[in-house]
Symmetry: C3
Subunit: 138 residues, 3 copies
């Protein structure tokens, strides 16, 4: 049993950009040498979230439209503290959550055929992001 | 320390059907022989989600009504790609999330007395689902 | 590789109280003696949720206002079962989710500089809560 830590570096433009990181997670799993276990995909930052989706052009438009509807841009109490206009980004990230745990077996991620791992950058400005992949297994 | 992979097979009718899978997870934990660790309950599919709830008839009606309200059935960009009318199913699954991690100790899941592990099938058609249980511990 | 179970005890007043538990998780990590791995923060109870946020006074007001808006207090089917008026608490907890998994390395939680681990007590009455911290690693 071992722990292997990996990172994914991303340049994002923000405002609910949805990035497919499945290939990177899968590649890091291969180089970890682990066969069975779990990987935690984690965003160390308060304006990004992680989940899965069928990564196709329609849903990549639907997701930002959904967040625009339930947590619209606008005035939040967060602005009273920092005046950076990204209260909506923080609320969206808290709601979606910063961590996802995906099982693997036979050295392959156990995902549905039409299911990809996504990082959502909710911030209102571009970022250089570094996601954490914590592999644990044998 | 060991990894034990289990599966739960379910026949679901979809449209936000909420299924209590606590007993199956608990039974698989017993047969794993592990005493302390975590289990990741994962849906390998982009139209299902996992969480916990007090599984009683009222909330089992409240949950679909909530999702009908914040992510109504209707027209989404996803339909432009596949024309299968389940854009709402995908968005709901991404929001709730496909994975849940539950700790166990003394060979028992650590859950509240009134807290059950649920799978929500959000798709708009029946499915034969196979959830993954990844037990890790000692 | 080892499993170390810890607990955080909290007195909460409920109604979407947001509690920063980062220091407690970090302290328990230090006393666990583990250097690399993951910690699962879990609420064993159906009216609490776990996530991360930048813990500052503005967002601590924004989060309850957000939940009041998308899952308002009021009449839910849950009340037909128990008549305890906390249907909204249950739905909010199911949506946010009871578990969060955070990686650690070099004996430190890998979190963003402005990112704290939060427990949200959604119930409509005060509680004595006991969160579970399941550390796994080496």
């Amino acid at each position: 049993m071992a722990v292997v830590t990996g990172y994914i570096e991303l340049k994002t433009r923000g405002e609910c950009q949805v990035v497919d990181v499945t290939a990177e997670v899968s590649n890091k799993l291969k180089s970890s040498g682990l066969k069975a276990g779990i990987v935690t995909v984690f965003c160390p930052g308060a304006t990004g979230g992680v989940s899965t989706v069928e990564y196709e052009p329609g849903l990549i438009k639907d997701i930002p439209e959904f967040f625009d509807r339930i947590i619209p841009k606008g005035r939040y109490h967060h602005d009273d503290t920092w005046h950076d206009g990204n209260g909506h980004s923080h609320l969206r990230a808290t709601l979606l959550g910063p961590s996802l745990t995906v099982p693997f077996a036979d050295a392959r991620l156990i995902l549905g055929t039409w299911q990809q791992i996504i990082f959502c950058d909710f911030d209102n400005k571009p970022h250089h992001r570094k996601l954490v992949l914590q592999f644990m297994g044998e």
